[in-house]
């Protein structure tokens, strides 16, 4: 069964450093998403991406965050200057169409645990 894959599974970085979290969405999917989950809290939407541009973003997704689809398969989340409060599990997801449209669901990866020290 096709799945969304994320690398690395765990990343430790020093405060102020840049990190890039990588995701390979399911191959025929057109919509891509990043979510994050701070330890012990709920999963929060960060950004959605379609047709090589951001279609929606939350207030969390400020100027330190950026997303990119550098080639035909990868989808990345970059955090330019990490802060302690960026420590969280980051989930990538993809869907064939917009979530809900034509009974479309989003498929989530296993997550990357980011620890900022």
């Amino acid at each position: 069964e096709p799945e969304v894959t994320q690398t690395p599974s765990h990343q430790v970085t020093q405060m102020g450093q840049e990190v890039i979290l990588r995701c390979v969405p399911i191959s025929n999917h057109l919509y891509f998403y990043w979510y994050r989950q701070i330890l012990g809290q709920k999963v929060e939407f960060l950004v959605s991406f379609y047709n090589n541009e951001i279609s929606e973003k939350s207030e969390i997704f400020d100027d330190q965050f950026s997303v990119e689809r550098p080639d035909g398969s990868n989808f990345t989340l970059k955090i330019r200057s990490t802060k302690l409060e960026d420590s969280a599990m980051y989930f990538c997801a993809s869907s064939e169409r917009e979530t809900g449209a034509y009974n479309t669901e989003a498929f989530f990866g296993q997550g990357t645990r980011l620890t900022v020290v």
Binding site: Y31, Y35, V43, F45, F91, E98, T99, N103, E105, A106
Partner: protein, 114 residues
């Protein structure tokens, strides 16, 4: 504002007992509804989903959920829980007006008493 409420933070049930996890949403139109399960340190696994049609939906691992429009609820049920069901359960919704994102509830942690 659109929101999802899971009123129970932590529930403990005995193995073999029945389970119901509550979920309410606030939005005027019909949402798309999901239940996800997360085992410790793991990702999100979709248990079941509702888009339209029959309001009682069946999912994996013996779970089911019922959409009640009048109560804005989508409660998750299982007739007999197993120790392996211990996990965090998240109710989630997507709304037609903003279908590019899913809004998650705060989760309910399920513990199983032997």
């Amino acid at each position: 504002a659109q929101s999802v409420t899971q009123p129970d933070i932590h529930i403990t049930v005995s193995e073999g007992a029945s389970l119901e996890l509550r979920c309410n949403y606030s939005y005027g139109a019909t949402p798309y509804l999901f239940w996800y399960v997360q085992s410790p340190g793991q990702g999100l696994q979709l248990l079941l989903k509702y888009f339209s049609g029959d309001t009682l939906v069946q999912g994996i691992k013996g779970f089911e959920a019922e959409f009640k429009r009048s109560q804005s609820s989508f409660n998750l049920r299982k007739p007999s829980v197993h120790w392996s069901d211990a996990a965090e359960y998240f109710c989630a919704v997507a709304f037609y007006s903003s279908a590019s994102k899913i809004i998650f509830g705060s989760g309910t942690r399920l513990s199983i008493r032997p």
